[in-house]
Symmetry: C2
Subunit: 348 residues, 2 copies
């Protein structure tokens, strides 16, 4: 069994997801800056997983600075937070985890904690974020059970599986939960250009679990839906606005529109840490633009003419009206989402 992210003595150890499925290689980040760079480079990716990873990064920085004067330790935490927050802009779980780590540090200092105690507490907080993520993913699988028929073909996009989380699953949790419940499930995995998370990661995880998986080009999803070959669509999320608009991997919006047009339910599975109550609608969610070379090249192989322009938005926003339900660890939200999401995540 792979470990997406874990805290080791040497630092934060990550499964290098860029190299999957060809090789399962682990890299260890020895500083918070290295953790931030790993998030930027997508060595680790997936909204919940980068939240957990960032939390470990803060803990690492605190532990490494615990021999310094208290003000230097506090400054190291702020520097780590800033570096990690700048790594990727769209997934809100990253900011959620950083805010939680910062709050824990502030409370500890307010209660008179010394450096050693603070560092230990941050390590525990990061591990708690990790463990809660795992528990949340399992709960998502349970809550989703009534949504999946006894025999179903599920279309998914990108990777909202164990690799995107502390080690279990969000969108794939819905699938895995259904399989565990004895349902006959087949999965169409969209390859998810440009980064190929579907081809490389989802296919690898599902095959590892013995779940029937059929890989497709992203462009094939629509005609499969139109041909009656898809019973439901399940995706993860990188950020969910207060009104239920969902930011997720580029291509998700297209699937949602195609599902609606063909009368197929479109579900989003994500922990409540993905819900950003400060974003009123999807228009408030920043969309990361990544290097055009991810489109024009594939692992160094040039697939487009030299000098061509390319646009590489990493995410898109699916308006809430296309979303049949949002499955979280606290239960299922349905339209109207302003009310149902507020019930799951009360205003703080």
């Amino acid at each position: 069994m792979f470990r997406t992210v874990e805290r080791t003595e040497a630092g934060v150890r990550l499964l290098d997801q860029r190299k999957l499925p060809a090789e399962a290689v682990y890299v260890t980040c020895a500083s918070a800056d290295e953790v931030a760079e790993a998030i930027r480079l997508m060595i680790v990716r997936g909204a919940p997983a980068i939240g957990v990873t960032a939390a470990f990064g803060v803990a690492l920085a605190a532990s490494q600075a615990s021999g310094l004067p208290p003000s230097a330790l506090d400054a190291a935490i702020v520097r780590a937070r800033d570096a990690l927050a700048a790594a990727r802009p769209t997934a809100v779980n990253l900011f959620w985890a950083l805010t939680r780590m910062e709050g824990a540090a502030r409370n500890a200092r307010a209660e008179g904690a010394g450096n050693t105690e603070l560092a230990l507490l941050l390590e525990r907080e990061a591990q708690a974020i990790h463990d809660e993520d795992l528990a949340a993913c399992r709960a998502i699988g349970r809550h989703a059970a009534p949504l999946v028929p006894a025999k179903a073909t599920v279309l998914t996009h990108c990777n909202a599986g164990g690799l995107a989380t502390a080690g279990y699953v969000t969108a794939l949790g819905v699938i895995r939960g259904a399989v565990d419940a004895g349902k006959a499930i087949r999965v169409f995995a969209g390859e998810t250009r440009p980064f190929l998370q579907g081809a490389r990661l989802t296919a690898w995880e599902l095959m590892d679990d013995g779940i029937e998986t059929v890989l497709i080009a992203d462009g094939a999803a629509g005609s499969l839906m139109h041909g009656g070959k898809v019973d439901l669509v399940v995706v993860g999320a990188d950020r969910i606005a207060a009104n239920g608009d969902v930011a997720n991997k580029i291509g998700t919006y297209s699937l949602a529109v195609l599902a609606k047009e063909n009368g197929i339910p479109f579900y989003v599975a994500a922990p409540t840490s993905t819900i950003d109550r400060k974003a009123a609608t999807g228009a408030d969610i920043p969309i990361e633009e990544r290097d055009p070379a991810e489109v024009t090249e594939l692992r160094g192989l040039r697939i487009a003419p030299e000098g061509v322009s390319a646009l590489n938005p990493a995410f898109d926003v699916t308006p809430a009206r296309y979303v049949a339900a949002i499955v979280t660890e606290r239960g299922i939200a349905r339209a109207p989402y302003a009310a149902s999401l507020a019930a799951l995540v009360p205003p703080s």
Copy 2:
């Protein structure tokens, strides 16, 4: 300027489109069987281009057999036709061109043509199909002029350009015609997985023409439309049913649905040889399933786990209700298509 297909002394010379844009390599097919294999391998692709190529293949077979007894020449033509017809199932232009070549041979024999005369006549007929295709493509560009605003961003898919035809354009003809008319045109080219005709061919052709081109992953098209960044969608076609349903490269149906949902006109540009009056609806159009390795590998580079299943339908069918207009060399057809297409291509 490239030459997609031409008849040379040595056989039928094709630009090897699999190697673009890295290299512009020509291959010569020395027999009709080699021509059929080149079509199957997608050395040449694009509905009009494979029609022209198949016609040259028949002419080649006839010329090579012209020293044999008349019955042997006639048998060689039948063999060539069968081999070429089996190369790819979806594009009707292939069958249209073969039927036309066969009809020319039959008529010539009925009028008492000897072998030399018949072979010469078939060479001329193939060349006429080539030249008419070129003229048709230019006419499509002219007819489409009123559809393109003075300043527009056009989304296209796959390659319906000079490489897909005898050397000019169908969908790209709409774009080229607009640019030639002094309009300010920008093109979003969908990369078109799995074969990457958009990234490799369309981008290359448009850049060669100095037309502003931005390459995108197929999954990005929807959110660009939703964001108001696309004024019209133009694609080619591999076969158009009598009711206006359009078979075209996989992913086309998705674009059509997304265009409708966002109030963007979706146009199809194709010569009338693409209209198959024998197919009442899209359900009568056979859809080619290609090697799953096109999805799981990219030029020999493995991008998915060993042993994963993949589905690789080469085409999909877009129902006529999503199509704002079909632009042919004889004029523009609009809904109801049963009537408008019948007016352009009277029942024979």
